[in-house]
Symmetry: C2
């Protein structure tokens, strides 16, 4: 699927032309919602527009769903899912942990995906034949690592504060067992999982556009990603991603009780 990777490179470049000049610039932040804190930048809107244009040119019969501009129809069973800037809180804080997410579903199942971080020059791509890294250090195929026990695992989550009640108690149990927990890593965490640097990502309250692009990157690198009750992850919500089936089962066992 060299063609798909070439298309992803075009998509990443087009998105970067809109996001990168606005990264670490002030005055670009608008609040999408009047109440609460949900920042979105011009980068978000301009990048989604650019990505939609490329998809529509190349795959005119495919549906497109984006964080900013909703759904546009398509006659095939293919649907693209876009989050032009995942990790807007990182983006507005100057931290290079945000990414442009573009995923492709076929008959409801995520089959290909891109995460692009243009400041570091990294892309993580799944094309059906595997998961691939391009960026500093040179290109390579991605593979999750074989950490089997929670006590050896590095885990990422947005913040424990997002888990409430029994779910917080269950989350705290797992954080108490892992070797190390990192917060605030957004889409970057899933790519570090696919690349074999971390072992577990646990996140709650996700939207489909937060996760569809990342599902194939993890699965095609050998990882396991589901909802907390073991279902397919495309529906988003409460997601558990792990480097392998054994670690995933151990995490689900602790978390599903919550």
């Amino acid at each position: 699927m060299q063609d798909m990777r070439e298309f992803f490179r075009e998509v990443a470049a087009a998105a970067a032309r809109e996001t990168l000049p606005r990264f670490r610039q002030a005055n670009e932040i608008a609040n999408k919602l009047e109440a609460g804190f949900d920042p979105v930048t011009e980068a978000d809107r301009a990048a989604e527009t650019a990505i939609r244009r490329l998809i529509a040119e190349r795959f005119p019969d495919h549906a497109i769903v984006g964080e900013e501009f909703g759904r546009t129809g398509g006659s095939s069973d293919h649907e693209w899912v876009i989050d032009p800037v995942d990790g807007t809180r990182a983006f507005i804080s100057g931290l290079p942990l945000w990414g442009t997410l573009v995923g492709l579903k076929k008959a409801g199942r995520a089959v290909a995906g891109l995460m692009s971080q243009p400041f570091t020059g990294e892309s993580f791509m799944a094309d059906g034949s595997g998961s691939w890294y391009e960026g500093p250090g040179g290109p390579r195929q991605l593979a999750t690592r074989d950490t089997r026990h929670l006590g050896d695992a590095i885990m990422c989550t947005t913040t424990p504060a997002l888990f409430a009640g029994d779910r917080r108690a269950a989350y705290d149990r797992i954080e108490g067992q892992v070797r190390l927990a990192r917060y605030g890593t957004d889409c970057y965490a899933y790519c570090m999982l696919a690349a074999g640097h971390v072992d577990l990502v646990v996140e709650i309250g996700l939207q489909p556009y937060d996760i569809v692009a990342l599902v194939p990157i993890i699965e095609q690198a050998g990882g396991v990603i589901t909802t907390v009750d073991g279902g397919r992850p495309e529906a988003a919500g409460y997601i558990v991603a792990a480097a392998n089936a054994e670690l995933h089962a151990a995490a689900i066992e602790l978390l599903a009780g919550g």
Copy 2:
């Protein structure tokens, strides 16, 4: 002080030759302490050795203090303070938020400093004449921003879990007031403060080698950095860094009660 920046560039390059090839490689992690989690890599040791060599060649009468190899004497009132890999938890998780820290104290006061992040290719330097960025986007002088109110501020900290008892309550009060809190950002947070992307960094339990290099980068960008009781920050411990004096005073008022 172009000379000092040139020296910092040499130091950053020498450190990067030791750290970067080991970043995102497994099997390099040793535990420095038998009990607890305090990872250190070969990168840490090799980079400190390389930095010490450069300092000793260029400034033979200066003292050197490093995280890995302790203190070596010097007859002058100049002392270099080195943390070859600050943010080892980010390092072992594949996240490009760690940095090489090299600071210079004169008569006990931090006067020059370097933070280098070789994966992103960024350096943040203070040389007595100002604070400077070199990296993607091109070189520029750093300046903190003029956020005056906690409600508008972006704050960074390692994790709230490090604050205990009354101090945790005080920390939670400030996190409840700021616009946004980010965790786990280590030395990178102080550089984002100097660069005007975030407004406040609050951290506890710091060692001098965690902070001495960052003090001039913040002060020479217009920021204010002290211990929580308002003292000079070189002693480390509980540190409050802010974009300006007004925001710093507001933070100290909330935190010092804890």
